[in-house]
């Protein structure tokens, strides 16, 4: 049995929700509750019983070796992957795979940013941001455009409203993707290695946007290989190993005083590759 530390924060010890996220806070209720989640591809079990609570406004970084199940876990949270056992509740809604309407409602509360941006290539930047609010939320044309412009300004791209995605740098595309997700007013944002496809000089501009989201109280769950960023921004760091939450705690402890040999080895590897 591995030395799994299930140190879910007590409600009182949880981070204080910052900024405007407090508006609709139900004190104490986690925004995300994952219980005994198991997921396999065929005979290959990838997630072997994940328990995880995330508080409103909390910033959680997920680290771990390639193949440890980080992406799979994130993708389970908005139903891109179907899991076989366990339960998952986002913002009070149970994830029900076989109910398309319930899935769409749940997904409205969960934004996701991908490693490969995945902007819609046939739409302008502005149209990318406005598409889902128009189709899903039936947001009015003028209001939708105004909101899209405000969000693009927030990610530093107000002058790109009419540009096509393929005319933008990777860092700019990723910031558009963030604006596009924010346009749905998600209660939680999932980020899966969102700077891994970027040239090193473009990483900073994206991380600054993510940091500003964290500062404004957005609940964030991010898989990242940027250890210094995780250390700076995260309230809690989760180390995944072989489909389990192997170690979990505040960044100071995880990076400063790792408890398990697996985490120590992983951090050693990361340092080696960074040097």
């Amino acid at each position: 049995m591995s030395a799994t530390l299930q140190a879910a924060p007590a409600p009182t010890a949880g981070p204080v929700p910052r900024g405007d996220a407090g508006a609709h806070t139900q004190v104490g209720a986690p925004i995300l509750r994952i219980t005994a989640l198991r997921k396999s591809y065929g005979a290959h079990e990838v997630l072997k019983g994940i328990d995880l609570d995330v508080a409103r406004g909390e910033v959680v970084a997920i680290i771990g070796k390639s193949g440890s199940g980080k992406s799979t876990l994130l993708r389970c949270i908005n139903g891109l992957e179907v899991f076989q056992q366990g339960s998952l509740i986002v913002d009070g809604r149970h994830l029900l795979h076989d109910n398309p309407k319930a899935m769409r409602e749940l997904r409205q509360g969960v934004g996701m940013i991908f490693q490969s941006f995945n902007l819609f290539p046939h739409l302008t930047v502005g149209q990318n941001v406005m598409l889902a609010p128009h189709l899903v939320k039936r947001r009015g044309r003028a209001q939708n455009a105004e909101r899209a412009r405000a969000l693009l300004a927030r990610v530093g791209l107000s002058e790109k409203f009419d540009a096509m995605p393929d005319k933008l740098s990777g860092g700019q595309q990723q910031r558009v993707a963030i604006a596009r997700a924010l346009a749905m007013d998600p209660a939680i944002m999932l980020c899966d290695e969102i700077t891994s496809a970027l040239d090193p000089e473009l990483v900073g501009e994206v991380l600054r946007v993510v940091e500003s989201l964290a500062d404004e109280g957005m609940t964030l769950l991010m898989v990242t290989h940027e250890m210094s960023f995780a250390r700076k921004v995260a309230d809690r760091v989760i180390f995944m190993h072989q489909g389990l939450v192997h170690e979990m705690g505040p960044p100071e402890t995880i990076f400063g005083a790792p408890q398990t040999p697996e985490l120590r080895q992983f951090l050693g590897l990361m340092e080696g590759s960074a040097a």
Partner: protein, 218 residues
């Protein structure tokens, strides 16, 4: 040997009427055929299994039989079942069904080329399956396959010459009529050929202009 093109061109009202028929048949067949193809491509790539098979059978049936047989079946065969169509309507039906089958296959290739990530992004944004197909998958797919689709539409336009066989009064019908009246076959068919050439070039330009403008953006 002397050529007499004037006696052909003197029949311009007939030629013009024929060209108008060809354009009309092609326009209707394109409209209906493309709609059929979008439905067919949807059924084959993401529709219910049995429907997908049915569409597959339709595509294979049409792609492996001559157009003229399809046309004759509709015009001469269907009346046996009490379905009696005018030459014009039968021609549009045959062309629609023909274009629909080829365009279904063309469009399906474009749809299957959609990067998985774009569909997942749309799912994450809470779009429904239908919304994803219409707003995320279809426009880039149309853009990818547009050149092939335009070629197919031109082929169907040229193929409409066969419809003169059931006395649809399109351009080749008009040409035949003129040469049977004045026995100037050489000149008549040169004029007819140039007519088709002009129409085909025009159609290509029109579609290449209209596609990006109205269907899939820049």
């Amino acid at each position: 040997m002397s050529f007499d093109f004037l006696s052909i061109l003197a029949q311009w009202p007939l030629l013009l009427r024929g060209a108008a028929w060809t354009i009309g048949l092609t326009a209707l067949a394109t409209l209906f055929g493309a709609t059929l193809a979008v439905a067919g491509a949807w059924a084959r790539s993401q529709g219910p299994r049995p429907l997908g098979w049915l569409v597959g059978a339709y595509v294979e049936l049409i792609r492996n039989t001559p157009f003229i047989v399809q046309l004759f079946f509709i015009f001469f065969g269907l009346p046996e079942l009490g379905i009696r169509l005018s030459p014009g309507v039968a021609s549009v039906c045959a062309m629609t069904i023909n274009l629909g089958a080829y365009a279904t296959e063309i469009l399906r290739a474009g749809i299957e080329a959609t990067p998985r990530g774009q569909i997942e992004a749309a799912q994450s944004l809470a779009l429904s399956r239908t919304q994803i197909f219409l707003h995320v998958v279809l426009p880039p797919a149309l853009k990818t396959v547009w050149p092939a689709l335009v070629s197919q539409i031109v082929i169907v336009m040229l193929g409409s010459a066969v419809c003169s066989q059931i006395s649809t009064e399109e351009l080749s019908y008009a040409t035949n009529l003129i040469q049977s009246r004045n026995f100037r076959a050489f000149e008549a068919y040169i004029v007819g050929t140039l007519g088709y050439l002009g129409l085909a070039i025009l159609l290509r330009h029109l579609l290449n202009w209209a596609g990006p403008r109205f269907l899939f953006g820049r």
